[in-house]
């Protein structure tokens, strides 16, 4: 980790720590958007990290941005930071400057969006499902059918109908209906649908991986703290052998998840993420099931109430593991790669990592 990165992450950490309180997250889940924190993120440039300064972005690389998202995962930041960043990056590839608006995207195969040319632009018809933060977003990236061609489209949401729904974490996951909405002057670009969907799924998967690894750090910290403070049968919890077994498994799954997430970040930054994201999402998803179960078992009844911070973390892990591919999806992807690998043996495939860097240090648990 570079010195610069360390400084950025330190200040982000402090910002989240002081502003992203349990109450803020509660309010967000009740439907009140965390305007103030969002403004801070926009003003501090966090919402366009990874977009080159030449385009008007904050600069920095994906590595920086992904570690910021790891912190966002750790603090359960209840904002569309991941979605906005993803859209900024996708658009930056097309030379589009970053926006200070809330952005979202959806490449769900169930979506069906048609654009018909009109004298003034286009008329949009159709719907998109399970769209994160749609109700708060200003614009959305989707794949639209334009006169028989599939195009990446950046559509305004001000005239769309939004049907509210939310994921297990209480994060908006809405259905958007475009009922003959007239738009003018929108960004459109022909894309290979399969390829674009794969690109978004990989990027989205990677982001969930790092956010989940951050969430697991939080979960481990909460559990350790609880086992030190809480007594049962006259001893602190962590003295009970059954609890020790729990803490050890929590620690192991967390370290494994953080390690493989950091490895995936590094590989992505170097453009050599072939197997890494698939293997990492598979592992982190699997770990999420284990650690959430154990943390709740350890916390007992208090952990299943809204009063305790724990459930904000566990509900996010449960929601995120099913977003951008569950274990089966990524096992499919990984199996495909192994089946079609041109190395002679599995071992060669495993060790065939292009040289990443002489020594990379400090990408560990914060």
């Amino acid at each position: 980790m570079s010195d610069m990165q360390e400084i950025i992450l330190d200040s982000t950490n402090k910002m989240f720590k002081s502003l992203c309180t349990k109450e803020l997250i509660d309010r967000s889940e009740e439907g009140i958007f965390a305007e103030e924190l969002w403004s801070v993120l926009v003003e501090s440039g966090v919402t366009s990290v990874g977009v080159p300064e030449s385009l008007g972005g904050t600069g920095g690389d994906y590595n920086d941005a992904l570690h910021i998202l790891q912190l966002a995962g750790k603090f359960s930041v209840p904002l569309p930071l991941a979605e906005t960043l993803m859209v900024q990056w996708l658009l930056a590839d097309h030379g589009i400057s970053p926006s200070s608006e809330i952005l979202t995207l959806s490449v769900n195969p169930k979506n069906k969006i048609e654009l018909e040319e009109t004298p003034k632009g286009y008329s949009v018809q159709g719907k998109a499902v399970n769209v994160p933060w749609a109700r708060h977003a200003k614009r959305i990236v989707v794949i639209a059918n334009v006169e028989g061609k599939s195009k990446l489209a950046l559509l305004p949401l001000d005239k769309a109908n939004i049907e509210f729904n939310s994921n297990l974490a209480g994060e908006p996951s809405d259905t958007i209906h475009f009922q003959s909405v007239d738009v003018a002057d929108i960004f459109l670009e022909e894309v290979d649908v399969e390829q674009f969907r794969m690109k978004v799924t990989n990027l989205g998967g990677l982001i969930k991986i790092v956010m989940m690894s951050g969430a697991m750090e939080a979960l481990l910290e909460l559990s350790v703290l609880f086992s030190k403070e809480r007594e049962q049968f006259g001893r602190p919890l962590h003295r009970l052998q059954a609890i020790q077994q729990h803490i050890a498994v929590l620690s192991g799954e967390t370290v494994a998840s953080v390690t493989i997430a950091n490895k995936a970040i590094l590989a992505f930054g170097k453009g050599v993420d072939d197997h890494e994201i698939a293997a990492a999402k598979l592992k982190v998803n699997e770990a999420a099931g284990k650690v959430t179960e154990i943390a709740h078992q350890l916390h007992g009844a208090i952990g299943v109430t809204h009063e305790h911070r724990l459930n904000q973390v566990t509900r996010r892990l449960w929601a995120w593991r099913d977003e951008f591919g569950n274990e089966n999806y990524w096992a499919d992807q990984l199996a495909d790669k192994v089946m079609n690998s041109n190395t002679e043996s599995l071992w060669e495939m495993i060790t065939d990592h292009p040289v990443i860097a002489k020594v990379q240090l400090g990408e560990g648990i914060k």
């Binding site: 939310s166 297990l168 007992g300 566990t314 099913d322 274990e327 089966n328």
Partner: protein, 382 residues
């Protein structure tokens, strides 16, 4: 390993006919409720409870003179598993039928039996159980809620937590100290009192569960006056009475079937989609369910015979509740979806309920760790 004996039970033709009757009734009620995961905690419907009362299916094993029907445990088992499998709303009368009724029958005075049991059996009198306190979860010896005997009756002070459905119930059985704590005999001096939840001095504060719903409460008692005769059983014997209650309610179908509506939906979807691979992955669940159900049924029979089921019942609770959780974990892998409490897709909704209710399954009625201690003690003692 005598303590681990479980008989294999078959149902008689009469019992199968009765099962069919129950099933037909539930089918006829299908439009009045939405099938729910964990419906014995979250499916609250006094109207449905009353209908069950009219059918004679609450307190159905109790003596006729107290409003019961004197039917067998296995018949009660059939009613309960049919209701749970259908995800029917049975939370309102659940604790009164499962715990409070039997408690009165075993320890209650004639007056208590005559007053409470017929009302419970009609599905018109709901109870909640006051055991846990903030610092007394698994460790009930730490209970500090206390009742003092006065001329006007008992005066109750303290609080209970995690009381399921207290905000919707009429009464609560409160375990409290009736004499000061003796460090050497920590479990002595506790008694069970019947508290009318509409009494002055009772404050009920619902606790939001993971799902955002309110099934639990904190209940505060501030100088609540309770009639002297509202003590259940022997003064000072409350801990033993409560433990016996718990032990005897560990092996019921509600420890296996809480997420059955999700499993049913999963299998139904797989059949519809002719997804053979998915079906194959689901079969592990089915084989576990088979073995757990037959253990549970065998223990129901042993209970009827008065045998000691402390060890085997703890086993069923431990494995059954793990199974209930596991249904969700397996289902979400087989059918990729976006689980959500607000989804319009039935599978997604049931999956969300199962995931969010999951942590409770292995905490309520004795945590995994506690149960395993009980089992080992039982097995080692032989």
């Amino acid at each position: 390993m005598n303590k681990l004996k479980v008989p294999i039970m078959g149902f008689t033709e009469e019992q199968e006919t009765f099962r069919n009757e129950v099933r037909q009734f539930i089918k006829s009620e299908k439009d009045t409720f939405e099938s729910q995961v964990d419906s014995w905690l979250s499916g609250y419907s006094p109207a449905f409870s009353q209908k069950l009362g009219e059918k004679g299916w609450i307190g159905m094993t109790w003596p006729k003179k107290y409003g019961g029907k004197e039917r067998s445990s296995l018949e009660r088992y059939i009613v309960i598993e049919e209701l749970l499998a259908a995800g029917a709303p049975i939370a309102a009368h659940w604790f009164a039928d499962r715990q409070t009724g039997p408690l009165f029958l075993k320890f209650g005075t004639d007056e208590q039996k005559e007053f409470f049991l017929p009302k419970i059996a009609k599905g018109r009198c709901f109870f909640s159980i006051g055991l846990s306190e903030p610092n007394a979860g698994s460790d009930l010896a730490a209970i500090s809620t206390r009742a003092e005997r006065t001329e006007n009756g008992w005066v109750l002070n303290g609080m209970k937590i995690w009381t399921s459905g207290a905000h919707l119930s009429d009464y609560m059985i409160v375990l409290c100290r009736t004499s000061p704590k003796n460090p050497d005999r920590k479990h002595e001096g506790l008694s069970q009192l019947v508290v009318d939840l509409s009494s002055p001095g009772v404050t009920i504060r619902p606790i939001k569960y993971l799902t955002g719903e309110e099934h639990f409460n904190e209940v505060f008692f501030e100088n609540v006056i309770i009639p002297e005769e509202n003590i259940v059983g022997q003064e000072g014997n409350g801990w033993r009475q409560s433990m016996a209650e718990l032990a005897y309610e560990r092996s019921g179908p509600e420890r296996i079937l809480s997420t059955f509506p999700l499993l049913e939906e999963l299998i139904g979807t797989l059949r519809e989609n002719k997804d053979f691979q998915g079906m194959k992955e689901a079969m592990k669940l089915l084989s576990q369910l088979y073995s757990l159900r037959h253990m549970s049924i065998g223990i129901a029979q042993l209970l009827e015979e008065g045998a000691d089921v402390n060890t085997t019942a703890a086993l069923v609770k431990d494995m059954g509740t793990k199974f209930e959780k596991n249904v969700a974990e397996v289902a979400r892998l087989i059918i990729a979806s976006s689980p959500s409490m607000t989804s319009e897709v039935r599978f997604e909704k049931l999956l969300a309920q199962s995931i969010l209710h999951g942590p409770g399954f292995t905490l309520r009625g004795g945590t995994t760790e506690i149960l395993r201690g009980i089992v080992t003690k039982g097995v080692i003692a032989e």
